[in-house]
Symmetry: C2
Subunit: 101 residues, 2 copies
């Protein structure tokens, strides 16, 4: 089992707009081979930012990497983006393999 | 749905010993109210360390917090620890609420 988390630092006051982008977009993930589940997670907040992470579970790293090169990936990332000022820096991708369950 | 991740930076060469601690310990989690699932995740490696994260899903933040004050928590954390030199710094706890599923 493989988990991909993309970490986003969101400017104070922009949280709701950011969440709405995820609520309303069509991820096209359900039909992707090896896809298991998607969630958007809200993490800790400070005066400077709120941490969010997209959290996607896959059967394997290979399934995730195949998706990143697919039409479904391009479609999901070609949709409406968040308001200007939402993001503090670039998202940071972290990937994990499950080693003990 | 609530996720608690504890992030560990492990010294090069100590990965297997660290994983074994998690493989062999009795977490006492199955009987804890509100507990859903546990995994140990292996993240990216660099010359300096390998990132691991314990990844525990709960029904709610309240269920997680009740567990941290329980006998089950004390028992799980009173067991054999990893070899000296395993940890680079303290673990960092990050907690998340699922906001879009």
């Amino acid at each position: 089992m493989f988990i991909a988390m993309n970490r986003f630092r969101i400017a104070p006051g922009f949280e709701e707009g950011f969440e709405n982008v995820w609520r309303t977009r069509d991820s096209h993930l359900e039909s992707v081979p090896g896809f298991s589940s998607f969630r958007l997670l809200k993490g800790p907040s400070s005066d400077e930012h709120t941490l969010y992470a997209s959290h996607t579970i896959w059967e394997s790293r290979a399934a995730f990497e195949a998706w990143t090169e697919s039409d479904a990936f391009r479609k999901a990332h070609a949709q409406a983006s968040a308001p200007k000022g939402t993001y503090l820096g670039h998202p940071e991708l972290e990937t994990f393999e499950s080693v003990v369950e």
